[in-house]
C-alpha cells in the first residue's frame, strides 16, 4: 500500500532522496531549493541514510564534488536553483561529457538580474544544451515520481547522462499538497544498486578521467553524447512503464489533456499546467475544443511525438516561462515549432512569454491566450507571433 501524505515539493524531493539513499550529496543553500539539503541533512544527522553530506562552499564546488563522487564510483545527488545552477554551468557540461549519471533536483527560479527569488524557467533554459536530461514536474507528486525514476534512466548503459528534475520554485516547492509516497523497500528495489563499470576507486583498474581532448577525438566523443541523448528517449519510456506497474501512475514524454479532438491548445511546462487544465475544462463547457500539452521530457526533446500530437490543431500557443531575449520567441516555442516544421505540420503557432520573476499566472491569463488562439482560427491571421501575457500595460 502506498503512503498518503501531505508534503511540499521540497519535502517530496528530500523524501525521494532519502529513499534513494545516495552515497554522496553535495549542496549549497539557495532559495527556493534550500530546504532540500536542509531536510536531507537531518536524515544524515539522524543516521536514516548512508550518505556523506558535503556542505560545500559554493554551487560550483557542489557540482565539482558530485562529479568527483560519481566518477569515484558512487551515486551523487544535489539540489539547486537559479544563480546556483548558473554558477554550476561550467561543471554541468563536464558532468555530462564525462558521462556521469548525477541526479539533481532543480527548483526553478529566475536567474539574476536584477535579483529575484521567485519562479520562472530562466535557470533551466540557460542549461538546455548542457547534455543533461531534463524532466519537468507539474506538482509535488510528479517531482517525487520523476526523482524515483531518475537513476534508472540516467544510469542505463545506453544513456549514462546526468539528469535534472525540475519543479516550480515556491508554487510547487513550498505549497503543501496531497501526495502518494511509495514504500521504502519498493523504491530501493526499483532504483536498484549502482554498479558502474569503470570508476576511480577501483584500485584493481586505475583509470584517468577528463583528458585534454583535441581535434582528433572530441568530435566523436560529442557524437557519443548526442547518441546517448537520442537513446534516452526509449529508456525514459521503458522506465515509465515499470513505474506504472509499481504505482499505477502513467508517465510519458508529455501529458495530453483533452487533445483528442482539440482544435486549439496551449503547450506549457510545470505548475502552469494545473491552471491550464482548469481553463480547458471551462472552455470545454462552453463548447470550445480546447486542449493542453504539458511537456515532461524537455531534454531529450520528443520532437516527432510532439509534432504528431499537435499536428491537427488549428492554432497552438507555446508558453515559455523564460524570455530568450532573441527577438524571436521562447525556447520551448522554438523547439515545438521546429519539430512541427520538420514533420511538415503547418499549424499556426504563437510564442507566449509569461510569469517572469514569479508574476502570478491566473486563469484569466490563460483565457487570454485561448482567446487569441480562437481569433487566429477565425481570422487566419497572426498579427505578432511573439507575445506576452500578464505583462503590465504601458500605464499600469
Amino acid at each position: 500500500m502506498s503512503i498518503r501524505e501531505r508534503l511540499s515539493g521540497n519535502e517530496a524531493a528530500a523524501i525521494a532522496m532519502k529513499q534513494i539513499n545516495p552515497d554522496v550529496v553535495a549542496a549549497f543553500p539557495i532559495t527556493p531549493s534550500t530546504e532540500i539539503p536542509q531536510y536531507f541533512s537531518t536524515f544524515v544527522s539522524n543516521g536514516t541514510v548512508d550518505t556523506e553530506f558535503v556542505a560545500v562552499e559554493s554551487e560550483h564546488s557542489a557540482m565539482s564534488a558530485c562529479v568527483g563522487a560519481e566518477a569515484a564510483g558512487s551515486r551523487a545527488m544535489t539540489a539547486t536553483s537559479a544563480n546556483g545552477l548558473s554558477y554550476m554551468w561550467e561543471m554541468l557540461y563536464i558532468a555530462s561529457s564525462l558521462r556521469l549519471p548525477i541526479v539533481m533536483s532543480l527548483v526553478n527560479r529566475a536567474v539574476s538580474g536584477p535579483l529575484n527569488i521567485h519562479n520562472d524557467h530562466s535557470d533551466a533554459m540557460g542549461v538546455r544544451d548542457s547534455g543533461w536530461i531534463m524532466l519537468f514536474s507539474e506538482n509535488n507528486q510528479e517531482a517525487y515520481d520523476n526523482l524515483i525514476m531518475a537513476h534508472r534512466i540516467a544510469e542505463n548503459k545506453d544513456v549514462l547522462l546526468p539528469l535534472m528534475v525540475c519543479q516550480d520554485g515556491f508554487i510547487t516547492s513550498h505549497s503543501i499538497e496531497n501526495i502518494e509516497l511509495i514504500e521504502d523497500d519498493k523504491v530501493k528495489t526499483f532504483v536498484g544498486k549502482y554498479e558502474p563499470e569503470h570508476y576511480l576507486l577501483n584500485s584493481e583498474e586505475p583509470i584517468a578521467i577528463g583528458p585534454l581532448d583535441l581535434q582528433a577525438y572530441l568530435f566523436e566523443h560529442k557524437y557519443q553524447q548526442a547518441e546517448a541523448m537520442r537513446k534516452a528517449k526509449k529508456v525514459i519510456l521503458d522506465v515509465a512503464k515499470d513505474f506504472e506497474k509499481m504505482t499505477g501512475r502513467k508517465y510519458s514524454f508529455f501529458e495530453e489533456y483533452k487533445m483528442q479532438d482539440a482544435e486549439i491548445a496551449v503547450v506549457c511546462m510545470n505548475s502552469t499546467a494545473g491552471t491550464t487544465k482548469t481553463v480547458v475544462d471551462e472552455l470545454r463547457k462552453k463548447g470550445i475544443k480546447a486542449g493542453m500539452l504539458k511537456v515532461r521530457v524537455f531534454r531529450p526533446f520528443p520532437a516527432k511525438e510532439i509534432a504528431e500530437a499537435l499536428g491537427n490543431l488549428k492554432a497552438v500557443a507555446i508558453m515559455d516561462k523564460a524570455d530568450s531575449l532573441n527577438a524571436m520567441g521562447g525556447a520551448l516555442f522554438e523547439d515545438v515549432t521546429s519539430s512541427m516544421y520538420t514533420a511538415k505540420k503547418q499549424v499556426p503557432a504563437v510564442s507566449y512569454v509569461y510569469g517572469i520573476g514569479g508574476r502570478d499566472t491566473t486563469a484569466k491569463d490563460i483565457n487570454e491566450v485561448f482567446d487569441y488562439l480562437q481569433k487566429i482560427v477565425k481570422t487566419g491571421e497572426i498579427d505578432n507571433p511573439y507575445r506576452y501575457v500578464g505583462l503590465r500595460k504601458g500605464d499600469e
Binding site: D23, V24, A26, D50, T51, E52, V54, A55, V56, E57, S58, H60, S61, S64, A65, C66, V67, G68, A69, E70, A71, A72, G73, S74, A76, E90, M91, I94, L98, L200, L201, N202, S203, P206, I207, A208, I209, G210, P211, L212, D213, L214, A216, Y217
Partner: protein
Amino acid sequence: MAYNLKEVIANRPSRFTSGHRMCAGCGAPPVTRMILRALKPEDHAVISNATGCMEVSSFIYPYTSWTDSFIHTAFENAASTCSGVEAAYRSLKKQGKLPADKHTKFIAFGGDGGTYDIGIQSLSGAMERGHDMVYVCYDNGAYMNTGIQRSSATPKFADTTTSPAGEVIPGKMQSRKDLTEVMAAHHLPYVAQTIAYANFKDLYEKAEKAIYTEGPCFLNVLAPCPRGWGYPTDMLMQINKLAVETCYWPLYEVINEKYIINYKPAKKLPIEEFLKPQKRFKHMFKTGNEWMIEEFQKEVDKRWEALLALEEMSNKK
C-alpha cells in the same frame, strides 16, 4: 630510516611515467614524481588535477602519464573535485562497498593560477571541511600554460605578458600573495613549503608527512618555469637552490600550528643571486633601477624575519 635518494628511486618506481609533454627544465614533473614516490607502494591513489601545464601535457587523449587513478575536470576546482572523490570513498568504505584492506590516498595538484587565484575558494572550502587529502600547489609564479600572465603568486617587478616591464610601469607592481600563510591560517594538521632541492630530501619527507597525516594537508612547492622565468633549462636545480639560499622561498612546515623552519642559511645570499639568472627580472639590473632590487631585498628580509618570529612564538609554551 634516514632518507636516501638512491634507495627511494630503487624501491619506489615512478608513478608518473615518461612520455609526457612538459618542457625541458620545468620544475613541475620532478616534483610530481617525487611526491608520488612518497606513497606506500601498496596504496592506491586518486589524483585530482587542475587545468594547467601539468594536466594538458600529461593526459592527452588517449594517452596518460598517470599510473594511479586520475581526474581532471576544470581549472578552479581540483580541491572540490578531490573532496567529492574522498567523500565517496568514506561513504562506500562505511557501507562496506569497497575492500576493507585496501587504502586509497587523495592528492590534488594545481598550479599557482589554479590555486592562489581562481581555485582559492574551492581549496579553502575543501580544507575547512576536513577532507582527508593533500593539496599540492606547484607554484611557478604565473599563468604559464596560457603564456606567462601574472598571477597573485608572481613576485613583484616580474615581467609577464600581462605585467610587461614597460617604459612607465616596470613589471608587476604588487608583491606576491603568501599562500602558505593563508593555508596555515586554516589551522590544518600539516602545512609545508618546500622545493626540489638537495637530493629531494625536503620534498620527499614533507610529501610523506602530508600524505600520511590524517586530514586536510597543504604543500606549496616552488616549481620554476624556464619559459616564464627565462633561465637555461639545465639550470633548474641551481635556481631552486638559489631560491632557498636567498630565503626567497624558505623551507618550513607548520605542524598543528607549530612552525619549524627546516633550513636556515648560515649566510643568506643576496637576492640578486636569485634574480640575475632570470630574464623576467632583467630590467631590474638596468642602471637607475637599483631601487627595485633594494625593495625586493627588503620584502624578502621582512618575510624571512616574520617567519623566524612565527617559529619562535609558536614554539613557546
